[in-house]
Amino acid sequence: MSDPVIRINKMNKWFGNFHVLRDINLNVAAGEKIVICGPSGSGKSTLIRCINRLEAHQEGEIEVEGITLDGSLKNLEDIRSNVGMVFQQFNLFPHMTVLENCTLSPIWVQQKPKAEAEKLARELLARVRIPDQADKYPGQLSGGQQQRVAIARALCMNPRIMLFDEPTSALDPEMIKEVLDVMVELAEEGMTMLCVTHEMGFARQVADRVIFMDEGEIVEENAPEAFFSNPENERTQLFLSQVL
């Protein structure tokens, strides 16, 4: 395994007095795909939100591509343009067209010329299989299409790491597959991915490691085959018996 692109060492986080993440240790190698699962409230979303510092941690270290995450603003923008994020609720900007959503960061953060940004955005929209929706507004698209726009928007920053926060949880069953297909493709191209998801089929298909979290701790981590067929921890067994 090559040098880790994400290093998390004894990280702790509190919301007020509530201890959400407890002594998290996690290294992620370049190109690795990690699926994080666990019951709601277990801190899995908070964990990946700490990786692009949407949440600030209080103790321990997080290092992304060699940059230590702390309070200084300069680091923050470097990290965020290297780390793409896809949200459960898509969070597209409803007042902008699909194309404008995708070119926003390239133009305003990476200072690319508009023509170049639009070309890139159209390529990526084609890659997520919605090339002909570029001039529509998000409100005119289905949930699955919106989530694929959100993936394209994140990819437009040309990130080296992608974070997915329950990307299919808000979708109708018929649309889950179209989003997962795009994610599988992305995984096959070698993107480093951390996905919070309950799509166990997806985990089996692409994950290098599956992490199970409960009560703010990493309870178990293992390769998907071993994780699903032979979970070590009782808590993991209980959880799997409920979701599978």
Partner: protein, 370 residues
């Protein structure tokens, strides 16, 4: 396996669509509905007859003094408006210099109309003209004293000119100030937040009349000797600060309606606070509160009448002033003057209201819109 073929759509039954369908559904759906419809139509016709009788049939249209308006059944006294029209528009602005005011009005229209039409291009140039060039131009033209223009003291300004100067300055200043105050009130910096809350609550908590009195009477007491600026300018500042406090609360309502996810998505894309605010948050927040913003504008436009109490004569003030003219003393002079002033105010406010509805529809990006 059988295939699924959707049933083809059929047209709606004949008497449920078109005008007949509409009338059946909306005007005559039940006996009570029919009765109310007839009553309402009767009332509307009656009011129209009274208004029309007063404004047209019994009205006087020509004459040069009060004798024109002393018929037995006398309606509106329009010659009064005609004779005083110049005063109502320009106040005591010298006759020979009124072309300067006309020019300022015309330039304002030329700048404003294309700005308000979404599909006319060159918005940036238009903006520079309206916010950069126009205020300077208007200031030089209206006050004079340079470029060979005769100086006209602001105490000679009056009528619609003062109304528009106060309202337009208030509107133009209150929106950006209000936005900054609203952002400040939601800031993470405690001192900024405290200052903004203090400002908003103080100005929102006192009547505009108090603010105008303070600006006009108290402020000079605090200024060093010799420093004294124009009464109109002091009123403008008072009105702008007052309305910006209201505007701030309207804008804050819009800011609070933006979901947290929008901030998070913007942050995840690497946008800074100001870029997020400018590109993501404000366009959505302001769109949501267009009705509130225009409501504040309309309130401000009508509140300009209060400058009367510090000795400035706006449109309403100057109309009232001319009631005392003995050569026009008739029983109908007052009502005609008030109707005229009311109609002018209504025209401006109604235009703002219609434009806000147009903009709301234009900016809508939901499934049916865009």
């Amino acid at each position: 396996m059988t295939g699924f073929t959707p049933t083809p759509a059929r047209p709606a039954p004949a008497n449920t669509v078109g005008f007949v369908g509409w009338a059946r559904e909306n005007l005559f759906a039940t006996k009570l509905d029919s009765l109310l419809t007839v009553l309402a139509i009767t009332l509307i016709l009656y009011v129209m007859k009274v208004v029309f009788g007063w404004a047209v049939i019994d009205a006087s249209f020509s004459g040069s003094d009060r004798t024109a308006c002393l018929k037995d059944v006398q309606g509106a006294c329009w010659p009064f408006i005609e004779a005083k029209f110049g005063q109502f528009i320009y106040g005591r602005y010298p006759d020979a210099e009124r072309w300067r005011v006309d020019l300022v009005f015309a330039a304002g229209l030329i700048g404003l109309v294309p700005m308000l039409m979404p599909n006319v291009g060159h918005k940036r140039a238009n903006m520079i003209f309206l916010l950069g060039f126009y205020p300077v131009f208007a200031f030089i033209m209206l006050t004079g004293g340079v470029l060979g223009l005769a100086a006209v003291d602001t105490t000679d300004w009056g009528g619609l000119l003062v109304t528009l100067v106060v309202a337009v300055t208030g509107i133009v200043a209150s929106l950006p100030l209000g936005i900054l105050l609203a952002l400040g009130r939601r800031s993470d910096l405690p001192i900024v937040r405290a200052l903004c809350i203090g400002f908003i609550e103080i100005f929102r908590g006192v009547p505009l009349i108090t603010v105008l009195f303070m600006a006009s009477v108290m402020l000079p007491l605090f200024l060093p000797d010799g420093v004294n600026f124009d009464k109109l300018v002091r009123c403008l500042i008072g009105v702008a600060l007052f309305s910006s406090a209201y505007m701030a609360e309207v804008v804050r309502g819009g800011l609070q309606a933006i979901p947290k996810g929008q901030y998070e998505a913007a942050a995840a894309l690497g946008l800074s606070y100001w870029k997020t605010t400018r590109l993501i948050i404000l366009p959505q927040a302001l769109k949501l509160v267009i009705p509130g913003i225009v409501n504040t504008f309309i309130g401000l436009f009508k509140d300009t009448t209060l400058v009367l109490i510090v000795g400035l004569f706006d449109l309403l003030g100057i109309v009232q002033l001319h009631f005392t003219d003995a050569s026009w003393a008739t029983p109908e002079t007052h009502i005609t003057g008030y109707v005229f002033a009311g109609a002018v105010f209504w025209l401006f406010c109604f235009a703002m209201s219609r434009y806000s509805i147009f903009m709301e529809n234009h900016l809508s990006t939901d499934r049916n819109g865009s």
